[in-house]
Each structure stands twice: as C-alpha cells, then as structure tokens.
C-alpha cells in the first residue's frame, strides 16, 4: 500500500441516516474495521452498526463524583475538626450532618467536570484540524449530509475495492481523503 502514507481514507456521502447505517453494516461485513461515520446529529443505531462498545465516560464521571464527594467531606472534616477546631459550647467538632450540603454540591461538581472534560479528552478534542476537513463537501457533515470513511490504516484497505463497496451501497461523491 504505497499510497497509504498520503491518504487518510476513502469517503462516501449519503442523504439519509438509514442509508448511512446500511452502508456501515455492508462495509463492516466486507471485513473493514477502521471505519468511521460522520453525521450532523447522533443517529440511532449507528454506534451498534459501527460495533462501538460501551465508552469510558460514565466510569470517568463516577471517579469524578467519588473524588468530589469523599474529598469534599473529608476536607470539611479536616477543617472543622483538625486544623481549625472551634469549641462552640462544647458541640461536637465532627458535626457531619452540617457537612452534607457542601459534600453533595462537590459530588455533583466533581462528576460533572469529569463527565465533560473526560468526554472531550477521550474524543481527543480540541483538535482544530483533521484530514476529513480536507474534503470540500465535508462542511455538509454539520448540516444535512451523512458521511462514511474507510480509513487507510485498515489492513485490508485497497483504494479500488473501497470505492467499489461505496458504489454498491449507493454512496455519492466518493472521494479520497488526503492526509494534508
């Protein structure tokens, strides 16, 4: 595959989300694994068609929530009972019910920050440039067209074969995606 260093993949375009899912299924049946689809909104069933597994975002979110909650509670305990104890008429220093509101808020804060920044990091965003943007018609991916791209790093990748499969699933504007 001499051209694979210059070429990112082959891209085909569809008008309709159902055609896109159909195409992705056919391409995967043909044995390609490095396939990605691009759509202007989340298409139901596309993740399954691409064989995407459960993602890590919920787990990262859980870790963030635990860190926020436990960290928040024990921080308040440390402040109120250890480093800055105040004797108010002999009341207990570890007055834990009074620490619950802040613990709750920090749990939510930690989980939300982890979910958002975890999602961005796992998606490798921000990433201002990507080879798919080299395709002029790709600007429609954010409004009304659906794209599928067979990537050149796939071990089975062969330009003619990929183009033929895309033709078989009635993709239009089949183009090669240059790397730069």
């Amino acid at each position: 595959m001499p051209h694979s260093s210059r070429i990112y993949g082959v891209m085909g375009e569809f008008d309709d989300p159902h055609e896109l899912i159909h195409a992705v299924e056919k391409i995967r049946e043909a044995g390609y694994r490095h396939v990605n689809a691009y759509s202007p909104f989340p298409v139901e069933g596309l993740s399954e068609a691409l064989g995407l597994k459960r993602n890590m975002v919920p787990f990262v979110c859980l870790l963030g929530g635990l860190a926020g909650g436990l960290g928040g509670f024990f921080f308040q305990y440390w402040v109120a009972a250890i480093t800055y104890p105040q004797n108010v008429a002999g009341r207990p220093l570890n007055s834990w019910p009074a620490f619950i509101p802040v613990t709750f808020e920090l749990t939510i804060l930690g989980a939300s920050l982890a979910a958002v920044f975890g999602m961005l990091a796992l998606n490798k965003l921000p990433q201002p440039h990507h080879p798919v943007f080299n395709v002029p018609r790709f600007t429609h991916a954010s409004s009304d067209r659906f794209f599928v791209c067979i990537e050149a790093k796939d071990p089975k990748f062969q330009m003619d074969h990929c183009a033929r499969i895309l033709q078989e699933v009635h993709a239009h504007h089949i183009v090669e995606v240059p790397r730069d």
């Binding site: 989300p17 990605n36 689809a37 691009y38 759509s39 202007p40 909104f41 989340p42 298409v43 596309l46 993740s47 691409l50 995407l52 993602n55 890590m56 975002v57 919920p58 979110c61 921080f75 308040q76 402040v79 109120a80 480093t83 800055y84 105040q86 007055s95 009074a98 620490f99 509101p101 802040v102 709750f104 808020e105 920090l106 939510i108 804060l109 989980a111 939300s112 920050l113 979910a115 958002v116 975890g118 999602m119 961005l120 796992l122 998606n123 965003l125 921000p126 990433q127 201002p128 440039h129 990507h130 798919v132 943007f133 790709f138 600007t139 429609h140 991916a141 954010s142 409004s143 009304d144």
Partner: protein, 461 residues
Amino acid sequence: MSAGQPPLDSPEIRRLTPVIGPGYTYGSVTDKISAIVLTRPTSFGWFVGFSIAFSLMGMLAIAIGWLIIKGVGIWGINIPIGWGFAIVNFVWWIGIGHAGTLISAILFLLNQKWRTSINRFAEAMTLFAVACAGIFPLIHTGRPWMAFYMFPYPSTMGLWPQFRSPLIWDVFAVSTYGTVSLMFWFVGLIPDLATLRDRAVKKPLKIIYGMLSMGWRGSARHWHRYQSAYLLLAGLATPLVLSVHTVVSFDFAIAIVPGWHTTIFPPYFVAGAIYSGFAMVLTIAIPLRKVYALEDFITMRHLDNMAKVMLATGLIVAYGYFFEFFLSLYSGNKFDVFLVQQRLHGPYAPFYYALILCNILLPQFLWSYKMRHNVAFLFVMSIIVNIGMWLERFVIVVISLTRDFVPSAWGRYSPTVWDWATFIGTIGMFVTLLFLFVRVLPAISIAEMRELVAETSEKEE
C-alpha cells in the same frame, strides 16, 4: 377533519399540534436557525433594544461603583433589616434560573420532545440569571473585594470558612450551579458551533466559531461519548437544581426568625423557583418567536405546555402558602401567629395581598384552553407571575425581619434609589446578555432540531 371535529382540547388535537412545523428538512432547519446569526442583518430594533438594556447595565455599574465608594449605607438596609433588596433580588434571580435547568435536564430525562426548541435559550437564561443573582450577595458583603474569604483557601492567617453555616453552603451551591449550567450549555453548543464554523463566510467568524467548536466533526465515535456525557450531565443537573433552591431556602429556614423557621421552605422554594422560571421563559420566548419568525419551532404546543407547568407549580406554591399560614396558626407559637397577623394587617399587608393576587388568583385563568392559546394574555400573565414571585421574596424577607421577637427590635424598611438602580440595573444586564446571545449564538439547538426532524419524518413513513 370536517365531519365530527373533536373538541379543542382533545388528545387528538394535542397529537396533531406539532412540536415543529411541517415540511422541514435537515438542511432547512439548519438554514433557518443559523441564518439568524450569520446572514440576517442586525435590525434597527435590535440596536434600540440593546441600547436601552445596555444603558440600564451602565446604571448598574454606577450603582455598584457608588456602593463600593460609600458602603452599604446607601441602601435602605439598617438593623434590624440587614437583608433588604439584595437578598430579595438574589433569591428572585436564582429562582428564575431554575426553569432553564428543569427544561434542559429533567424534561430531557423524561424524554419530552417539546423541550428541544426551547432548551438552548432557557439554559442561556439560567446562566444570565445566575450571573445577576451572584452580584447581590457579593456586593451585600459590603466589601466585595474580600469575597474570596468565603472560599476555602490556605491563607497565611490559618483561617477557614465555617462549613456549618448555610451562607457557606450557598456559596458552594450557587457556584456549582453556575459551573454545571455553563458546562451543560456549552456541551450542547459544540455541534452547533461546528455548524456555524462550516457555514460562516467571513474568515474571522470561521476562526472564532472554529476555536469554540474545538474541531467537532460529527464523528460517530464522538457522538457516542457525547451522548453519554450529555445524559450524565442531565442526570447530575436534576438533583443539583433541586438542591440549589433548597440550600437557598436553608438561608432562611435554619434561622430562628418567625416565618422563616419552617420545614416547608425547601419544597416550596423549589416549586416557586420553577414557577418564576417558566414565567421568565415565556416572557422571553414570546417576543423571540415573534421577532425572528420562529413560530414553526416554538409552536403553540410549547407555550401551552409551559403555561401548564406554570399553573401546576403555581398550585404547589399556593399549597405552600396555605400550609405556611395553617401551621403558624396550628403551632400556637405566639410569634408565628403574630407574624401571620402582620402579613394580613401589618404595614406591609398590601404587598402580601398583591402577592396572593399575582401568584394564586390571576394564574387560575390558565385552566382555560382559550387563555393558554392567547399569546398576548400569556405574555402579560408571565410578567404578573414574575412580579408576584418577587413580591413573595419581599414579603418573606421584610415582614419577618421588621417584626422580630421584641417590639423594641422592630423596624421599617424602604428601599432607596440605589436599591432600585441596582435591581433595575441587573434586569438591564440580563436583557443585554440575552440580546448579545441571540445575535452571536444559535438560540435554538440546531443539532437537536435535526434529530427531531429525523424522528418526525420516521413517524410519517
């Protein structure tokens, strides 16, 4: 349709009243919403409205500047009434924000399709309302430049905040609420910013929207994680929004002041917050859909549903008023009984009756289908509810503080011109931010509207 037309409010009619006008495609939805930002010339009316709002915001700057120079003595507050307008307005603004989160998070979890076209600007409204709310406790401290004392940071004095105080809970609740609302809003905006980047013609706009969209390319792998994150955020924002006004109500309920020390406060504050928030969403949505011709996206179905939410939360609030009243009498506590008498017959009684009129009596018109479908009436009603909810906070703060336990500690409160300037100034700031928002960002979520088009077209097939 002609033979045997169903009655106006029948389920069939409701099913036929769409959440989006007929005949829209992915492309036309995108065109219509992005054109408001990208190609539509800025109208003369926009400049007029913006100038008025911006002038009021200038007044806010002057009022805060004078406050910083002179201190809180320029306000009408004095012992025993230390709270006054600052806290009334804080609670009012933060409550208004709640509808945005409710629409974007709770209605999302309940899979309510009609939220799609209103969630973006409702979330923006939340952010701007929280920004206005945040100003008040900050300047009410008297020395706002020392406000960082409220955050736990390792100071050289070895000083830490008192975590048992509801006022510190408030700091954490409101700052968490502001942060999570901002993230929720921004995550929702990312795909739309990518749309604007791809549609913008001018280079600077392409760069700005490109930077903000962070290189979003609609990859299925990205959407996969994006949807997880969005769902999680909705799930997290739901308990958060309920907690925020609960914590705000703790500012009152933890104190022993008559009329404040009651367990009904948290639920009734949350209901009141959603009530006033939906009123504000209507106040904004009605002119917005008119000016930008968005009647196909913000349909009568939306206005009708929002009016119903207003009616329902208004009834919860009425229930709260009733039990507040009943429990005070039933408790036999003479200070509580006296406070009820003061609400009915005291110097601030007109405010109490106005509040009952605005929040309980007039909204009963919303039971009528005809009234809910009268846009002008809804607009007026939404403003009445906003006023009513402001009066509620005024009554709670002022009557309790002016009628404490011993007559020697009684007092009177009246706001000064600086109180009014600050309050009206924050309204100016809110409107200014809204004007800027509709001009530079899509006021309706384009990506979610496309999803809605996909779903409605499937149903037709």
